[in-house]
């Protein structure tokens, strides 16, 4: 367990904040994967807007300093420069925090990138409640915002294994991508042999009573909660949905058909993200089942220690267990 998850204090900038307990972890899986890719792909270039240290891209910079550009605190220009590099045949990976990639650079992502289907990958740190710095730093609505942009692929990986696999997959993919980043010491949650494919959901655990549909780091909590719920006699399955867009509506409908109750779990506001997508797809498929949403409320979150905030807003394993056992005993 990382020192970064001690309760009761706000972490300094750059301390890892995403790690759960009791699992192996990998340091900077994104930056390492990108540096590996850079060896065989000289078209890959890296950019950041003064957050290289805090978005794990330094392994790439150190390996390929000539292919790395720090544009300073200027997120609109970050995206514009990346767009120009893509037009010149490069495959830019541009990092910043999710709040800045969305709120500050939205027009550039929409028009400079997505409208022209340019091959730029935005990798965005501090998704949801992975920082205690409050509303300025917590990207609580980024999935909803980015999902609305035509042609933009949106990924919320759940662990180090998936970050590495998704980094390689989005480098291969032709088109713009927004990927949420778990940084620092990132736990390994997925089993060996896991394969990542853009737009595909993965059934990680079978169950017949409750089906948890999760994305991002909530998948780790969902798996741990399912294990605990099993011991309470509640058979709980987990469908991991790393791609918010394109969304695997077919897998969601199939999974939902096999359980009594559906629970969505996301590190994001409950509107516009995973829960909305699940409800939309079930409605379209004609599946009438009650859906309970686990996610952030429609409000800005205060400052505080990350574990405190995650507990308060129901994103911990314990909170997921409590929510589901409460539903089942009601």
């Amino acid at each position: 367990m990382s020192s970064g998850v001690q309760a009761g204090r706000t972490l300094a900038m750059g301390q890892d904040e995403a790690v759960g307990g009791g699992r192996q972890s990998v340091e900077a899986p994104f930056g390492r994967a990108l540096a590996r890719l850079g060896q065989s792909r000289n078209d890959i270039v890296g950019l950041t807007a003064d957050l290289g240290k805090y978005t794990d891209i330094l392994p790439f910079r150190d390996a390929f300093p000539d292919r790395f550009f720090n544009v300073g605190m200027a997120e609109q220009n970050l995206v514009a420069v990346a767009a120009g590099l893509a037009r010149a045949g490069k495959v830019p990976f541009a990092t910043t925090y999710g709040v800045f990639a969305t709120r500050r650079a939205y027009d550039f992502v929409a028009i400079a990138l997505a409208h022209s289907n340019l091959n730029v990958k935005i990798v965005a740190g501090l998704p949801g409640l992975t920082t205690g710095y409050g509303g300025t730093h917590q990207a609580i609505e980024d999935l909803a915002l980015m999902r609305m942009i035509p042609g933009l692929t949106v990924i919320d990986p759940c662990d180090a294994t998936e970050i590495e696999a998704a980094t390689a997959a989005i480098a291969e993919h032709q088109g713009p991508v927004y990927m949420r980043l778990l940084r620092g010491s990132v736990p390994v949650v997925l089993e060996p042999g896991y394969t990542f494919e853009i737009g595909k959901a993965r059934r990680l655990r079978e169950g017949s009573d409750v089906g948890i549909i999760s994305t991002g780091f909530m998948t780790e909590r969902a798996l741990d909660a399912a294990e605990a719920l099993q011991k309470q006699g509640i058979s709980t399955g987990v469908l991991h949905v790393p791609a918010i867009k394109p969304f695997d509506a077919g897998a969601v409908a199939e999974f939902a058909s096999g359980v009594r109750r559906i629970v969505t779990a996301e590190n994001h506001v409950m509107v516009g993200g995973l829960a909305s997508l699940v409800v939309e797809s079930l409605f379209e498929a004609g599946i009438a089942k009650k859906v309970t949403r686990i996610g952030l409320p429609d409000r800005y979150i205060e400052c505080g220690a990350v574990p405190t905030l995650q507990a308060k807003y129901g994103l911990t394993t314990e909170a997921v267990i409590a929510t589901i056992s409460g539903l089942e005993s009601a």
Binding site: V45, D66, R67, F69, V71, G72, A74, Q76, N77, V79, A80, V81, A82, A83, G84, L85, A86, R87, A88, G89, K90, P92, D107, F108, I111, A112, H115, S116
Partner: protein
């Protein structure tokens, strides 16, 4: 067939005739829908003539040629001038110009990059310069000597992204990047609403080698472009003082409007007067 490579000495009179042709095309285009961004187009006509028929290295039959010089029109609503230049350059058919702004036309009133010869979507202002920087960085990584020319405007300098880009171009020492800043004194709400002077000093302060010229003086334009060829570690800025409606007295002296709309009979009168004065006809 490469154009303007290697750059020869400028035939100023021939370039002025090209600019007149571009203006004539623009009048035809604006007449089609009765409206358009004609003031801006007429003002920038001399610069586009100098670029496409003297300074830019390109192959009209191989638009994807990696070593082409790029021209990015950041003010997408100046498309009327770009379409005229692309037609005269043989990239789009001259006969297509009459479709400007019509339904299903490729010649939109604000550029999209689906039209041949368009290097950037320019409608949302403040986008062009940053994308030009990315292109210049990419070309440098590929050891290409191709250059990147970005047109932007005085009103567009009010977008913060313009200055984000301006900072980074000098930091990255992009000496193959040329910003062409059209200062025509108008923007959407009328005469420039926020004083941007001193324009040239601002660019100099951001590390750009800057020239300030009469943007409707062909000799001054070709000289400034020649001066911008130097590879000395600095991006180049050319501040172009232009007159909206240049070359068409009735538009020059009209209210300096962002968008110009008159009836067909009035267009016919303007065109007849232009043909008579310039010796053009189509």
């Amino acid at each position: 067939m490469l154009r303007n490579s290697p750059p020869g000495s400028a035939d100023v009179a021939a370039l002025e005739r090209k600019a007149t042709l571009l203006r004539r095309h623009m009048l035809t285009m604006a007449r089609g829908q009765g409206q358009g961004y004609i003031g801006q187009g007429l003002g920038i006509a001399d610069t586009l003539a100098a670029l496409y028929f003297h300074e830019l290295r390109y192959d009209p039959h191989n638009l994807a040629w990696p070593d082409r010089d790029r021209f990015l029109l950041s003010t997408g609503h100046y498309s009327i001038a770009l379409w005229a230049a692309l037609a005269e350059a043989g990239i789009i058919p001259v006969e297509e110009l009459v479709t400007y702004g019509a339904d299903n036309s490729r010649l939109e009133m604000s550029t999209l990059d689906t039209t041949p010869g368009v290097e950037v979507i320019g409608g949302s202002l403040g986008h062009g310069l940053g994308q030009g920087i990315g292109q210049a960085l990419g070309l440098r990584l590929d050891c290409s000597d191709a250059r990147v020319f970005v047109e932007l405007s005085d009103g567009e300098m009010q977008e913060g992204s313009t200055w984000e880009a301006a900072m980074s171009a000098s930091h990255f020492e992009l000496d193959g990047l040329v910003a062409l800043i059209d200062c025509n004194g108008i923007q959407a709400d009328g005469p420039v609403v926020l004083n941007m002077e001193p324009v040239a000093d601002k660019w100099r302060a951001f590390g750009w080698e800057t020239a300030e010229i009469d943007g409707n003086d062909m000799k001054a334009i070709v000289d400034a472009l020649a001066g911008a060829r130097q590879r000395n570690g600095k991006p180049k800025a050319i501040v172009l003082r232009t007159l909206p409606g240049k070359g068409v007295p009735r538009i020059e002296t009209s209210e300096k409007s962002h968008f110009f709309r008159i009836d067909v009979a009035q267009w016919d009168g303007i065109i007849a007067e232009f043909d008579k004065r310039m010796g053009t006809h189509q």
